[in-house]
Amino acid sequence: MGFSSQKVEQLAFFSSLSLTEEEKERFAQELNPFLKCVEQIRQVNTDNTQPLIHILPNHNVFRPDEVIPSPGQEEMLKNAKVTAEGYYKVPRIM
């Protein structure tokens, strides 16, 4: 198992990252030793061990169903580079 620049390209697709050919090559090279280091965890015996998802044992943390006024359209749009008529605007989708 290793990273090729094709594999990196596929990962970049899922991560929505544009990479130059040179970057793909470089990341493939850099990620291989990294993966090798991470590979060691496969050797550890974890039979009968439950994955630890949450450090704290708490559960049922809830919020009451009460409305708090939203900051407003202008506030929510002011960090966006391009908006129109109260909407965020993005280029063509298909």
Binding site: L17, T46, N58, Y88
Partner: protein, 484 residues
């Protein structure tokens, strides 16, 4: 003595006794920053004007919080209302939140005065602050060396007397490692002790907000303000918060301290081991009982940590797409180009690398092999600690395997760079509280000792750290800026 040199506790007393006004303090701090930050480069953003205004108002108030007129600074991944919060990323270069992180709000409500936002490795990924998208920060003890990271700006600013204290985040050692390199106190609380709300997430199950301060007493004072449950953070613990200052000055006779042999292996420099041994002797003199203990799974902590942290980071950072905030390539002709261009241009190489790796880890065909396995190892690590803590009050180790390294020396040595986290990562994996306090100097560079406690036993850590500090003078030594 100039105000900027004082500790939080000293400043509080001077304000209360009217020996210093908030304005005098703020001017002194701003003057200090003006004088030295050109060399340290700890700050990304300064909020001098609003700080001056706030100080003026505070001076007229009779009633105010504990921190009335006390300046502070925040790592730039802690969101601040109306103040640019960049995470040291090009992506967020001009992002201005309309909310204060819960911890920022708490300091504000206590009367503290925000002086500015501190440099860091981009999006908290790194151990040297060289990976800031803007500029590196320099270690006040040796300007040719890194201050550590990712909270390098925070540690350097405190060490250089640019700020009495700072808040930062610690995901795998990002508070403790720079504290060790810069010779200051760095406390990472138990996971869930301090609200993460409003703090840009790196790895949600590992991140925790903590303090960088000049001494243990100040760290205790700040913990009193920032600790506690938050209804906006579902992972914050619903437990009472003790008065951490009540742990200062108590003696430690009979305290049982475990020393994990796995934390003293070949990667740890012999000079560092020697400093820790010296410190342990001091603890023995003070009446503590020292014994060797074993944390067998900690050798896999780093690999499991990078698996989990990269996976979580890859999805936490996916929101940085440029649509609602952040840089946006307006020339993109379709949505896919918009995403890939914005993220391609806005994110640095380390962020991309970890994003790619995290995406790989979470892929449906790798999930069980890597991610789930890492979570299982995480449990084994936690159980190791649990076992030791059945018989011990604290665990002590070095914070870092070496002192601060040279700028540029490790940028291309990926795995070496990550091994800086080797001794701090297991603590995040187990969600435990830990502090790094100065325990000596090696060739003029500070080195830290890590004291690890049981879950929510920040009090015991503070107690032991304070006892050591009271019997040593490492924390009072100051760097002479500009030498070397």
């Amino acid at each position: 003595m100039s105000a900027y040199k004082l500790t939080v506790n000293q400043l509080i007393n001077k304000v209360n006794n009217k020996q210093l006004s908030p304005s005098e303090i703020v001017e002194s701090i701003l003057g200090r920053i003006e004088k030295v930050d050109g060399r340290i480069r700890a700050f990304i953003t300064l909020t001098g004007d609003s700080a001056r205004n706030q100080a003026k108002q505070a001076g007229n108030q009779t009633e105010a919080g504990v921190l009335k007129g006390i300046p502070y600074a925040l790592k730039d991944n802690i969101c601040t209302n109306a103040v640019r919060t960049t995470c040291a990323s090009k992506m967020l270069e001009d992002f201005i939140p309309n909310y204060d992180a819960r911890v920022a709000k708490k300091l504000k409500n206590a009367g503290g005065i925000l002086i500015g936002k501190l440099n860091m490795d981009e999006l908290a990924m790194g151990t040297s602050t060289e990976l800031s998208a803007f500029f590196p920060t320099y270690n006040p003890w040796d300007l040719t060396r890194v201050p550590g990271g990712s909270s390098g700006g925070a540690a350097a600013a405190v060490a250089a007397d640019e700020i009495p204290f700072a808040l930062a985040t610690d995901t795998g050692g990002s508070i403790r490692q720079p504290a060790s390199y810069c010779g200051v106190v760095g406390l990472k609380p138990t996971y869930g002790r301090v609200s993460r709300w409003g703090v840009a997430a790196l790895a949600s199950s590992l991140d925790q907000v903590g303090v960088l301060a000049k001494n243990v007493e100040d760290a205790a004072i700040i913990m009193n303000i920032i600790a506690g449950q938050d209804s906006l953070d579902s992972t914050s613990a619903d437990l009472p918060v003790p008065d951490y200052t009540s742990y200062l000055g108590t003696d430690i006779k009979g305290m049982k301290i475990g020393v994990p042999r796995q934390f003293f292996q070949k990667n740890v420099a012999s000079e560092v081991k020697a400093k820790i041994d010296q410190a342990l002797k001091k603890y023995e003199e003070l009446g503590a009982i020292i014994e060797e203990v074993s944390l067998p799974h900690s050798e896999h902590a780093l690999a499991a940590y990078y698996t989990i942290a990269s996976a979580e980071a890859s999805t936490n950072l996916a929101r940085l797409d440029g649509m609602r905030y952040g840089i946006n390539d307006l020339t993109a002709e379709n949505i896919e180009d918009m995403y890939t261009n914005n993220r391609g241009l806005g994110l640095g190489p380390e962020v991309k690398r970890r994003t790619l790796f995290g995406t790989f880890i979470l892929g449906s065909c790798n999930y069980e092999t890597y991610y789930l396995q890492a979570l299982k190892i995480r449990r084994l690590i936690q159980q190791d600690f649990e076992q030791v803590f059945q018989n011990f009050d604290l665990i002590i180790s070095p914070t870092t395997p070496t002192t601060a390294f040279k700028i540029g020396s490790q940028v291309h040595e990926l795995l070496d760079l990550y091994s800086n986290d080797m001794l701090t990562v297991p603590i995040n994996m187990a969600g435990l509280p830990a502090i790094s306090i100065p325990c000596g100097f090696i060739k003029g560079l500070p080195i830290g000792m890590q004291i690890i406690g049981k879950p929510f036993a920040e009090g015991s850590i503070i107690q032991a750290a304070y006892a050591f500090e009271q019997n040593t003078d490492y924390h009072t030594q100051k760097p002479v800026l500009g030498v070397k």
